[in-house]
């Protein structure tokens, strides 16, 4: 196991060297990285750390997260992500995986919400527990089919809100999510954009986050992706696990129904 890890690390370091693969301008720049990484993905490092955090007794209450319920019963992680976001009776809210983790870390382990949120995104040596836990739990749905049933009324409201948020144009540039992701086959500069209204693209996008971002040397989650899109839309900052974030994840997840989970994946 250790040897395999080292192999992942060394490949990751190589990939960070600029243009080590002689990256030509092409349609899918990640394809070359994929070739280089083969079966390995540095995201495994996050998954393994996440598994440790999942089992470890932590927080002021010094207990593991094992009683956290992602919708399939306390502590059940296999396949759970493929059926999220969903409504949770204990909070009375629809939660995506990331907001559900915050709920469990605060209620079960006694962590302070603000402290957990402050390190929601990792940066170099500053590691994020949320990212690692997200990577681990999403990884436990690999091969599972995305299956969002929209049974609870609150889930339907979240989907409808997500849909109107997707088309909501605002800010000095008049951008909405649909400006870049309303149509398939478009690109910004050389970056291909998934058209999130079309099944195939929506499935590809949803089933491949979180991803190890080669350009950043970090694992990034879906909520990170959304927040950074809004930054580029020139809008204020999207709150992590906020109603708008969860609604948009719900909209994407429903559009991706039937897709096979393949994350954490590899991203540009």
């Amino acid at each position: 196991m250790k040897q395999r890890l080292w192999r992942v690390v060394s490949v990751a370091v190589m990939a960070c060297m600029p243009f080590v693969v002689g990256a030509q301008q092409q349609e899918d720049p990640v394809a070359e990285y994929r070739e280089l990484f083969g079966e390995d993905n540095p995201a495994e490092l996050w998954e393994q750390r996440g598994e440790g955090l999942w089992r470890e007794a932590r927080g002021p209450k010094n207990v593991p997260l094992s009683s956290c319920d992602f919708g399939l019963g306390a502590g059940v992680v296999a396949g759970a992500y493929a059926q999220m976001p969903r409504y949770f009776a204990d909070t009375g809210r629809v939660e995506d995986l990331e907001s559900r983790l915050v709920t469990c870390m605060t209620t079960i382990q006694g962590f302070d919400r603000e402290t957990v949120l402050r390190s929601r995104f990792g940066d170099g040596d500053k590691k994020s527990d949320l990212e690692a836990l997200t990577a681990y739990i999403v990884g436990q749905s690999r091969g599972h089919t995305v299956d969002i049933k929209l049974q609870h009324p609150a889930e339907k409201v979240a989907y409808e809100t997500g849909k109107s948020l997707f088309f909501y144009r605002a800010g000095p540039h008049d951008f909405s999510c649909a400006s870049c992701h309303g149509e398939s086959g478009k690109r910004i500069r050389l970056q291909s954009l998934p058209g999130l209204l079309e099944k195939k693209d929506a499935q590809f996008a949803f089933t491949t986050w979180p991803g190890y971002r080669v350009s950043q040397g970090e694992l990034r989650t879906l909520e990170w992706r959304l927040a950074d899109c809004f930054r580029q839309q020139r809008l204020p900052q999207l709150g992590y696990g906020s109603p708008a974030a969860v609604a948009l994840v719900m909209f994407m997840a429903v559009n991706a129904n039937g897709g096979k989970m393949d994350a954490p994946n590899l991203k540009r």
Binding site: P172, D174, P243
Partner: protein, 201 residues
């Protein structure tokens, strides 16, 4: 009144309301979910009429004729032609503006001028291969169209406020939203229309 006709009328009257309702729902969710960051304040979540009508149209079956007319009129009225009648600047500066993608993001320095980020969506000079495809290709823009006064006037208006011609285009309203100033717009005009510009080589 015939019940069926009454029912149909109720649906006709209520359906734009349903769309307006969902846009309102999105706005309320955003109010609870966003916070000010850098220069990006909460006021940016508030839509003007163009944004509101375009969002509602995209989320439903498109624009009504009435909404289309409103958008075009409002945005045409927002166009300002250059005060001194001079439409042109320096294509080299225009090129830098077309390449620059920063400006007005929460992470950007508000003291620095914004870019136009034209290459994010448009092909322009043949030598720049990293161009996006959301907008039409502008390769040889001036070479193909010449620079007669109607072309110059049209190009200025599209840069200043593209929604005065194309109601809900993805293209930002660079002049009327204050993204680029008049001199920057003149420079971009030259990048598009100057025979010396790489766009026209």
């Amino acid at each position: 009144m015939n019940k069926k006709i009454f029912g149909a009328l109720v649906i006709l009257v209520l359906s734009p309301l349903a769309v307006a309702d969902s846009t309102q729902q999105a706005f309320e969710a955003m109010q609870q979910s966003f916070s000010k960051a850098g220069q990006a304040g909460m006021e940016r979540l508030q839509q003007d009429e163009t944004q509101r009508l375009c969002s509602a149209g995209a989320a439903s079956n498109g624009l009504t004729d009435d909404a289309l007319a409103k958008i075009l009129a409002a945005n045409e009225a927002a166009v300002k032609l250059p005060a001194d009648g001079n439409y042109f600047g320096d294509w080299k500066r225009g090129q830098a503006i077309a390449q620059l993608g920063t400006g007005l993001q929460s992470s950007d320095d508000p003291a620095k001028p914004a870019g136009g980020n034209c290459y994010a969506c448009h092909q322009m000079a043949e030598s720049e291969i990293a161009y996006g495809t959301i907008g039409p290709s502008l390769l040889h823009y001036g070479k193909l169209r010449g620079n007669s006064q109607p072309i110059v006037d049209y190009t200025w208006r599209v840069l200043y406020n593209a929604k005065s011609y194309f109601a809900c285009t993805h293209m930002p309203r660079f002049g009327s939203q204050g993204i680029l100033d008049e001199q920057q717009l003149r420079d971009v005009m030259s990048y598009l229309l100057d025979p010396e510009s790489p766009v026209n080589q």
